[in-house]
Every structure is written in structure tokens, then in C-alpha cells.
């Protein structure tokens, strides 16, 4: 059959190394199709990034008239200071707590739901919906719940002797922000762990139980290693969420306080740039965040490439 001979050569012809099927011979059209996306990238991503670089190394006087090259001065005055280190510490701690909390809860629920026989899709909906809630709205719901003296959560904690007042107590404020983050982000983890569990062939579990492995043992030595690519992906995504995504919650619930105890790096940049109008350090802070996010992107890239998990 002629048709049998064709596909092989056709594939070799069409799929070049970069994975293109390159069918249409037009020369200008692909650039026209790419143009809108690239134009937006250049105007609203590249140009601002270059501006930030410029500003990070420039010192302007009070009226923005005279400018001079400032070397690393903006970094020294804006980033190399104890308060910045403190914000970095808050960010790191918040990332650790929310990531650990949401991954543990998401995995626990995914495993339990996967083991029930009936009602799986209902449970899936019940554990997924908090992911879609806007952070600022989630913050509003919880703000009321834990409003000192008014919210039911606050009253309960008071009755238990906790002396709840997150507006004055840094630890309580920190825990409240972390709890809201976990409430939302565990849904995201649940979704991905569920997808991962469904991808594990049944035979693996059967082989495990034939060998007489207990449920716990089978989970840790069969299921978890097979989930490791997803676990790694979620680890990176959750840290990114904690570092960059908590802004809405923090702005609604604590405004970074009390006493900078919930001021993350992003929140600090917002305050410096838009409330204190301290533009000299804002450029430098933007560059630092940029470097951090480039690091995360590299990690994400590795997570996506690491498809093989058992060797």
C-alpha cells in the first residue's frame, strides 16, 4: 500500500528538531501571527524590566531632574539592610509553612478520596473549590472569622485561653496568613496529587499487596516515589505562590503588620514604591525579586523535564 510507505518519510520531512510540523510555505504570515504576543511582551515586560535595571543603578535628586550613576548604592541602602533581611526571613518562613501545610493536606485528601468507592467526584468538587476564590476575598472571609472580639474563630480561641488578637500579636498574624494560604493552596495540591494518583497503574499496588506489603509501607515505598515528579513540581509552585501570590491576603488581613511580621518581599516593595514613594530602592528591590523568580523558573523547568521517576 502506498499509504503505508508515506507516513515515515512524511514525518521525517515535517518534524524538524525543534518539533515543528512546518506544513505551510508562507513566509510573512507566521510573523504576523506572532506579532501581537511579541509586541505585548516587548512593551509590557521587556521595556519595564529595562527601566527597572536603569532605575536600580541611577540616583536622581529630589525633583527627578538631575540623574547620576549610583553603582550599587541603591542596593546598599535598600536591600543590604536588616529590615530587608527580615522581610526575606518572613517570606521564607511563610513559604515553608504554607507549602508544607498545603502539600500535606492536599496529599492526605487525594489519597483518602482515591480510596473511597462512591462519591469521588463530589469529594473532588468539595476539595477543589477554594482554589478559585480570589485571595483578597478569602482574606475578607477569614478576617471576619478572626476579628478580635467579634469573629466566631476569635471568640473560640479566646474561650480556649489563647488571648487572640492578631492585630497586636505577630505570631498570631503570621499563623492567620499562613492558614488562609493553606486553605486555598491545598486545593491546588489536591488537584495535582489526584491526577498523579490516577496515573499510577493498578498493577503496582497489586504487586505490592502480593508481596505482603502493608498499606503504609506500600504507600511510602511504591506510591510516593511514583509521585515524586508531581511532588517536586508542587513544591516549586507552592513556594512561588507563597512568595508572590499572598499579596491580596496580606493586604486585606494584616497590611504587613504588626511590626512587619507579615511583610513579605513583594509587600515591602509595594509599600516602598506606592506608599512611601521611595523610588530609589524600589528599582533595586524589583531587580532582586527578578533574580529570585529566575531561579524558580529554572527549577520549574527542571521539574517539567524530570519525567522519569524510578530507576
Amino acid at each position: 500500500m502506498a499509504a503505508r510507505r508515506r507516513p515515515r518519510s512524511a514525518r521525517r520531512r515535517h518534524r524538524d528538531v525543534s518539533g515543528s510540523t512546518a506544513v505551510f510555505p508562507h513566509r510573512a504570515l507566521p510573523y504576523v501571527l506572532l506579532f501581537p504576543q511579541l509586541a505585548v511582551v516587548v512593551v509590557f515586560f521587556i521595556w519595564p524590566a529595562l527601566r527597572a535595571f536603569r532605575e536600580a543603578f541611577i540616583q536622581s535628586n529630589a525633583f527627578g531632574i538631575g540623574e547620576r550613576f549610583a553603582g550599587l548604592q541603591n542596593f546598599v541602602s535598600g536591600v543590604w539592610v536588616p529590615s530587608y533581611a527580615h522581610s526575606a526571613e518572613v517570606t521564607l518562613l511563610l513559604a515553608t509553612v504554607t507549602t508544607a501545610g498545603s502539600m500535606a493536606l492536599g496529599l492526605f485528601l487525594a489519597v483518602k478520596v482515591e480510596r473511597v468507592e462512591r462519591g469521588r467526584s463530589i469529594y473532588r468538587t468539595l476539595f477543589l473549590w477554594t482554589y478559585a476564590i480570589p485571595g483578597a476575598v478569602a482574606g475578607s472571609l477569614w478576617l471576619f472569622l478572626f476579628e478580635p472580639g467579634i469573629g466566631p474563630g476569635a471568640r473560640l480561641l479566646d474561650a480556649l485561653g489563647a488571648r487572640w488578637n492578631f492585630a497586636l500579636n505577630p505570631t498570631q498574624a503570621f499563623l492567620l496568613v499562613a492558614a488562609i494560604g493553606i486553605w486555598q493552596q491545598s486545593a491546588f495540591c489536591f488537584l495535582f496529587f489526584t491526577a498523579g494518583l490516577q496515573g499510577i497503574p493498578r498493577e503496582f499496588h497489586e504487586a505490592g499487596s502480593m508481596d505482603g506489603a502493608s498499606r503504609t509501607r506500600a504507600f511510602w515505598s511504591i506510591t510516593m516515589p511514583l509521585l515524586s515528579p508531581i511532588t517536586f513540581y508542587l513544591l516549586v509552585m507552592n513556594v512561588v505562590y507563597a512568595v508572590f501570590g499572598l499579596f491580596g491576603i496580606i493586604d486585606i488581613v494584616t497590611q504587613g503588620g504588626p511590626g512587619y511580621s507579615t511583610t513579605t518581599l513583594v509587600y515591602r516593595l509595594y509599600v516602598n514604591a506606592f506608599q512611601n514613594a521611595n523610588t530609589t530602592v524600589a528599582g533595586a528591590e524589583t531587580i532582586v525579586l527578578l533574580v529570585i523568580v529566575i531561579g524558580f523558573t529554572a527549577l520549574q523547568f527542571r521539574a517539567l523535564r524530570r519525567r522519569v521517576h524510578y530507576r
Partner: protein, 280 residues
């Protein structure tokens, strides 16, 4: 199998308890939103009252002091969310189509330019981007909110990944039949991409609706405020009363979270399928 025989009930009880705990903040919001403000002074009751629709109607029609009616804010949110989600699709489908079905010189450059957007979430670039948007005179305009958010590496790569699963013979056949690339895109590729389009739409609609920081910076006129970015103002307005009107705040919170939650619940199945599957 036999080992688990006695356990299912316990498992269901556990899962239902956790699901109830997860839903508790929303349930209490409904309870609060269904009562008069004064009813909350001695603690929150456990059952809803009968004022839910009265309170919802009040915030939708009149809003809180110094804020526009919430119906107006919902409309602004819808404009922004639709602008962002449709904009992302409108930009990323042609871009992915171009790199898959044509021979493009400078493909790597295009790839890196699009990839860069992953490294620059709006929480990182908001400060210099604000200056650019101000310089272009786009503050307080819909394009000013939407344009800086519609370049999408995620959508472009997902569409590219999906288009690569199309057998080359399909496009060959179309070409032989005299079908040009744009007709191929509209009449063959898009109809086959429905599930993926739906998945990306869900993802980006929620992303758009939930934006907080960016509209907060670029929108200064209250009538252009979205409902999510307006939460903070409305909370402080409600707290300025001698009896804080938390019932109204919770009513606003409910109408602000219902659209994205409905979208994800209704389109849940497509969502997961469209993000993972190839052409079938």
C-alpha cells in the same frame, strides 16, 4: 480488598468532616450575610436568617459608603476577566499556530521572548510596568489593566503542545485540497481544540477575575473599581459604622467569589482533561 472492608464508613465520615471544615468560612459568611448587623454583636448564630436577599440586593444596588454599587463593580470585574482570558487566547493561539505549522526563522528568539513572561509575574514587575502604563496614558482604562496581563507563556506552550499532536497528514491533506493556513486554523484546528480552549479559558478567567494588586495600582477612579480590589475599601467603610456592617461585607464577598467558583465547578472535568490530553 477484605482488609479494607470495615473501613469505608470511617473514611467517609473523616472526609465529610474535613469538607465541612473547609466550607465553614463560606457557610458562616452566608449566615452573617443573612442577618442584620446588630444581630452579630453577641456572637454569630449557627443558622442563616432571612435577610440574605435583602442584603445582597442592598450591596448590589447601593454598595457601601464611598464605593459604587457592587453591581457596577461586578461588571468591571467581568470586563477585566473576559478581557484577560479572551485576550490571552487571542494572542497565544496564533502564536502557537505559527511556530508549529510554519518554518519560522528566529523561532528560538520568539520562544525566549514568550518564556520571559513566566519569569515576570505581575507581582515582580508591577512597579516599572506601572510607570510604562502611566507614560502611555493608559491608567484608569481597560487596556491599561488588561494589556500588561495578556501575554501568556502557559497558554502558548499548552496550545503548542496540543498542536504538535495533530498528524502532519491532516494539514497536508488540507493543503492539497487548496485550504489556506488561516482557513485551516479556523475550520480544522479550532474546532478540534474546543476542550483545550475551554480549559485555558477557565484557568485564565479565574486568573483575571482574581487580580488584586494590578487593578489596585492602575485604577484610581472608584467607578472603575473591580469587586475584588474594592474589598479593602468596603471593609474599612463597613467598620466605620458604630455597629460594623460585617453582614454587608460578607454579602459582597459572596458575590465576588461566586463567579470563579461556579466556573471551576461547572467546567472541572474539561479543565483537567484539557490541560493534560492530546488530540483524540
Amino acid at each position: 480488598m477484605t482488609r479494607a472492608a470495615g473501613l469505608p464508613w470511617i473514611r467517609h465520615v473523616l472526609l465529610i468532616l474535613v469538607a465541612a471544615a473547609v466550607a465553614l468560612p463560606l457557610y458562616l459568611a452566608v449566615v452573617v450575610a443573612s442577618r442584620p448587623a446588630a444581630a452579630l454583636l453577641d456572637g454569630v448564630p449557627f443558622v442563616p436568617g432571612n435577610m440574605l436577599f435583602a442584603n445582597l440586593g442592598h450591596v448590589l444596588r447601593e454598595g457601601l459608603p464611598d464605593s459604587p454599587p457592587v453591581s457596577r463593580m461586578l461588571w468591571n470585574s467581568l470586563e477585566m476577566a473576559m478581557g484577560i482570558s479572551l485576550g490571552k487566547i487571542l494572542l497565544s493561539v496564533p502564536a502557537a499556530f505559527a511556530v508549529v505549522f510554519f518554518r519560522v526563522r528566529g523561532r528560538m528568539l520568539a520562544f525566549w521572548l514568550i518564556f520571559v513572561t513566566l519569569m515576570l509575574p505581575v507581582e515582580v514587575r508591577f512597579y516599572p510596568t506601572y510607570k510604562v502604563v502611566a507614560q502611555l496614558g493608559l491608567l484608569n482604562t481597560l487596556p491599561g489593566i488588561v494589556l500588561p496581563l495578556i501575554a501568556s507563556a502557559t497558554a502558548t506552550f499548552l496550545f503548542r503542545q496540543f498542536f504538535l499532536t495533530f498528524p502532519p497528514e491532516l494539514a497536508d491533506a488540507a493543503r492539497v485540497d487548496g485550504c489556506g493556513p488561516l482557513r485551516y486554523l479556523v475550520e480544522v484546528v479550532l474546532p478540534l481544540s474546543k476542550v483545550n480552549l475551554a480549559a485555558i479559558f477557565v484557568l485564565e478567567f479565574i486568573y483575571g477575575w482574581n487580580q488584586y494588586l494590578w487593578p489596585l495600582l492602575t485604577t484610581t477612579s472608584p467607578s472603575e473599581s473591580t469587586v475584588v480590589m474594592g474589598m479593602k475599601e468596603m471593609i474599612s467603610a463597613a467598620q466605620s459604622f458604630s455597629v460594623p456592617e460585617w453582614n454587608l461585607v460578607m454579602a459582597v464577598a459572596i458575590v465576588a467569589l461566586v463567579p470563579p467558583v461556579i466556573v471551576i465547578v461547572v467546567m472541572q472535568r474539561w479543565f483537567v482533561k484539557g490541560l493534560t490530553g492530546g488530540i483524540t
